[in-house]
Amino acid sequence: MTPTSENDLAEAILGARGALRLRGGGTRSIGLSEGTLLETGGITGVTLYEPGALTLVARAGTPLAEVEAALDAENQRLAFEVPDLRGLLGTQGASTLGGIVAANASGPRRIASGACRDFLLGVRFVDGAGRVVSNGGRVMKNVTGYDLVKLMAGSHGTLGVLTEVSFKVLPKPEAAATLVLHGLTESEAVAAMAAALGSPYDVTGAAHDPGARQTLLRIEGFARSVAYRLGQLRALFPGRETSEDTDPDAVAALWAGVRDVAPLQGRVGDVWRISCKPSDAPELAARLRAEALLYDWGGGLVWALLPEGTDARARLGTFAGHATRVRGTGSAPAFHPDPAPVAALAEGLRRRFDPRGVLNPGLMA
């Protein structure tokens, strides 16, 4: 089913007699394998864009490419740097805004500017009982009632199917640069990233590729300011071998590689995503004994390639954070189980918003 309006979508959900498998563009799905396919790609269109107010509202099925083109024309962008996971997951199709929100998909800039959920100002959705709900709005500051906007971000369609989303957007910076530190061990790299992120120089990306033994630090802003901060940042690491890049296309390509987890693409195995305290990352990575790794968010996000069917959580043991399997199958659930009292709350919410259990049932439980 591919409804073309919110009304049709509500009817489709009301009429469902069993599990619905939800899909935006199908590019980043940790999806169900069974159930009737319900696609949101028919509900499209940018409904409002005010560059002077930094706000954009669009229907949930609108392709990311269309939104990016509109923003580009005004020299603005979605600041949370949407990952394109097609290469990693072997998926096709065109990413949609609704899918991005449902997955709270957030790239390297998350460490400085925030995640998708931090830029999401409002949502409309149809819940599992066919009720149309609106929450938040199109203004940057809004504490009117509960924040269901955050609740919907990352809920993977289990509470409702998004029909419209509004975002705070940001101006594109005039310039960008990468400082590369060469030859650091994983512990040294995480310490270096912490030093950079704890400096006053507004680092907007901090990643480490242990395969290439490169630690990447990104700076963005007005050209003169970028040049100044790049110098200051380099001075934080005396005695280290460094290189730098200020070519806009090269900087963009390098960070797209981090965003899209390029080092793990095209390789056999399961892909896990570990969210942790940054300083714990090297120790956790050692426990994983992964075939390939990529550190983003200063170490707070670790991508790991493991042999098929490996339960990363069994290797990690108890730790502060969580592990999600984004590619592969196995007996372990894709999402990290919550502790019992938290799981009970999440289950209570799902029952309230989807009393018949038709929206991606069991996906996050």
């Binding site: 002077g52 107010a53 930094l54 706000t55 709270n104 925030g114 995640a115 959920r117 931090d118 819940d127 709900v133 609106s134 929450n135 203004v139 940057m140 500051k141 809004n142 504490v143 009117t144 009632g145 509960y146 924040d147 269901l148 955050k150 609740l151 990352g154 940001l170 101006p171 594109k172 912490a194 992120l197 704890g198 006053p200 802003g221 007005f222 003169r224 300011s225 100044y228 969210s275 305290k277 940054p278 300083s279 714990d280 968010w297 996000l301 502060a320 954070g321 969580h322 999600t324 999402f335 990290h336 919550d338 938290v342 799981a343 709350l345 999440a346 919410l349 309230r352 918003f353 996050m364």
Partner: protein, 482 residues
Amino acid sequence: MKMPAPNASILARKDQIVARLREVLPEGSVISELSETRAYECDALTAYRCPPLCAVLPSSTEEVSAVLKICFEEGVPVVPRGSGTSLAGGALPTADSVILGVAKMNSVLETDYANRLIRVQTGRTNLSVSGAVAEEDFFYAPDPSSQLACAIAGNIAMNSGGAHCLKYGVTTNNLMGVTMVLMDGTVIELGGAHLDAPGLDLLGVICGSEGQLGVVTEATLRILRKPEGARPVLMGFAANEVAGECVSDIIKAGVLPVAIEFMDRPCIEACEAFAHAGYPMCEALLIVEVEGSEAEIAEQLEKIIEIAKRHNPVELREARDADEAGRIWLGRKSAFGAMGQINDYMCLDGTIPVSSLPHVLRRIGEMSEEFGLKVANVFHAGDGNMHPLILFNANQEGQLELCERFGAEILKLCVEVGGCLTGEHGVGIEKRDLMHAQYRPADLEAQMAVKDVFDPHWLLNPAKVFPLDASESRRRLAIAAE
């Protein structure tokens, strides 16, 4: 403003309830004499007062859990309280409720500069969180005007903002984790040192839930390295519209100041008389602050001033040193105090799309004539968060009600132009019955469904946020279940 009638059965059981609470708390932590509970009869929305059944001041998460368990068993409503600085009546008690104050819980539990976080008990004041990390040149970004007094607990409950959130975001963008006690005494942990949720983003819905879902006792907060420097520029304009256009042009140009503050003539006059900051007498005044190194500040200010000049400013004053910067901020920071000197006032908090600024200011001016009450406007212009201050005389019969009606009209106008009722103060009781103006019944149902899950008996701060008629059946059920 209506509040539900107190439950007579609870009032009758006061001694028994107080005795049970005394059993689980140290000496002096349960306050039940009327002479003392009066200290908790209101928050910063002082027009409404009611002493609670009693007040408790626990010192740990365990004690909070023990208190909530007893109140849950006794079916007694609980009103959580940070420092009591809410302008929306978020901490207003009812006669049958227990005030749960977190003021004694103000320790720093952990500072971790490598991972850029601090863990505190939530009774700690906002400013003292920054104070705890100042020696390493770090700070906690959300900075509500009441930051000297307001507690992190209240900041989380109301998702507080501040003048600098244009760059740094509000509380929800800087809150990484919480320890929270549910109404039945269950202690849960959400988030922590990592950056996203394993499943549903419950932390996101806790923040801003006005103490209705649980009592947050500990919080992990993001701390940031202080910028090398910051400097404001002050600009005066001949009309509100022109200042509004200037704001929009600055944002479009790609400069992202940390703050853009707006004051209109009545506000400028009052602040000047109070603080003698040397403000120019004009129709509209902007204070724009940027951050960075000396050279970066100069570069950004140059761009901002160039934009401002296109709008024929009547005054352009760049701070040359810390002293001048201090004077530029002095008037703005004393705005509410200045207003309090001349008059009683009610402070509103609606947000509007920045593009609607001139229209909304014009309409407020017209309504001010109609209602016969003066309005001064001071607000965070960069994100459209307005703070119209309606001046009235509380001692004159009927003026408070007139002022509230005027305020309601302004907030409805904010919603009409695409904005919302409250940008950073919260709904509390103040905007509770206006929620219908912004949300359809299904929208409110969805929000109340969240409370049903966290607090099935509707005992936590029950008569707030939702219009009384919308929440009535749920609150009645709670009483019947008792």
